[in-house]
Point group: C2
Chain length 260, copies 2
């Protein structure tokens, strides 16, 4: 049975996609069967792995509305053991489309859980890349997951949004998914030269303790360049500081979820 981890934070631009894609690529490189699930209508994780959304016959949306199975929407990438359930724009309409559903409470929120549960034996770990919101798509990701990774950019506004995020996690744990755990907090885009970054990092560590990953991801232009070539950092610049930080974080995450 594969482990499912959601990479979530409603604050925009904190490194959710970069973290999901980099961890997925490193875990595949380290020998695990990895599924990356892109439920952000922007589709950055999909294009970040070189997949052209216009070429796709199906995507996650088709599985969420029950028209296709997980196996039918999943595509291979150029990297061994790394597969993607890609996103397209029609995901953006899901929230309003499902709002009218007359099924019982919780039906809408469990669409992704049903999709992923049908294929749990096909992967060792699945990572879900979420949109910058706390709407239905994010709640679906949380209801479908065993654990959550929260990327936090070491900036003030990213810190401010954490309490809202933790409230949402508790809501999902109470109502939809009691087993949901915090797999880790990832400090991202860290510029060790600024007081602001060091202060925010210290506050996050003080609050989350050992749940914060040891590995801190530095600001590193290679991480920004990689997606423009449709490659993860593992092949674009494998020895760059950003890549090495994500390799260490991937090892920590695998260890925490019992795949180490």
């Amino acid at each position: 049975m594969g482990h499912v981890t959601a990479v979530i934070n409603q604050k925009g631009g904190v490194g959710k996609t970069t973290t999901a894609v980099s961890l997925a690529a490193w875990m595949a490189h380290l020998g695990r069967r990895v599924l990356l699930v892109d439920i952000d209508p922007q589709g950055n994780a999909t294009s970040g792995l070189g997949i052209d959304r216009r070429d796709l016959p199906y995507c996650v949306y088709d599985a969420l509305i029950g028209r296709r199975s997980l196996a039918e929407v999943t595509v291979a990438t150029r990297w061994e053991r790394l597969r993607v359930a890609p996103s397209t724009l029609n995901l953006a309409g899901l929230e309003v489309e499902l709002a009218a559903a007359t099924q019982d409470a919780g039906w809408r929120e469990r669409r992704l859980r049903e999709v992923l549960d049908s294929g749990r034996e096909t992967f060792d770990i699945a990572l879900i890349d979420g949109p910058p919101s706390l709407g239905l798509l994010t709640v679906n990701a949380l209801a479908a997951s065993d654990g959550v990774v929260i990327p936090v950019q070491t900036e003030y506004y990213a810190l401010e949004g954490l309490s809202q995020l933790l409230n949402t996690l508790q809501f999902v744990q109470r109502r939809l998914n009691p087993a949901l755990d915090l797999d880790g907090v990832a400090l991202t885009m860290h510029d060790h030269r600024t007081n602001l970054a060091r202060q925010v990092a210290a506050e996050v560590r003080a609050f989350f303790g050992r749940r914060a990953f040891e590995s801190i991801v530095p600001r590193n232009v290679k991480l920004g360049e990689a997606p423009s070539f449709g490659e993860p950092i593992t092949t674009y610049a494998p020895d760059s500081p950003g890549s090495v930080a994500y390799r260490e974080m991937a090892r920590e995450l695998l260890h925490r979820v019992g795949l180490g």
Copy 2:
């Protein structure tokens, strides 16, 4: 009649809030009566100006559901001529709450327009800070505005999202607000030392031409520090490179909308 500009981009973390708050503060400093409208449930623009959301009796949400007027929800700041229509968390529920409305098509999308039209003579320019999505709140902002400012971080993913944003603008111009114009494209968090940033900036300028502001906002830690003190850059670090860039952009924007 005041001019209304929406600061919009569904890509997360591109500098929407920093741009809205900095331009608003500079335009007030330059003698205009400015209203900052925060329709992002995260409420970063509200806290970035030192307003504690817990102290607020009313907010934009109350005006959007018709319970309070714009005048009742608007609060003064410590800075002359700068007023805010603040956001709180209950904005997050608006999309689903209004989804059930039985009024005719376009009613849901024009809530903010009706609110702002009722107070147009009380400001020279209003800036709307939007959330990182293309949902109902963002469509409301576009339907209520005379123009749009699009902040674009000089990074690859920010470039990728532009076509989706432009499609949404055209949809709103056709169906809800034919007068909606592009007031400007703001290049933000620009690190002139990296090829990536220079390439993205060149592509944005090639595509948008003179609609891109001359002034480019450099990456400047002072802009990240200011909100942690609840101050705009105009008082936190008025002579910093980030502040000066936003002062020049404010002048350009005022000129473009006929308030120069």
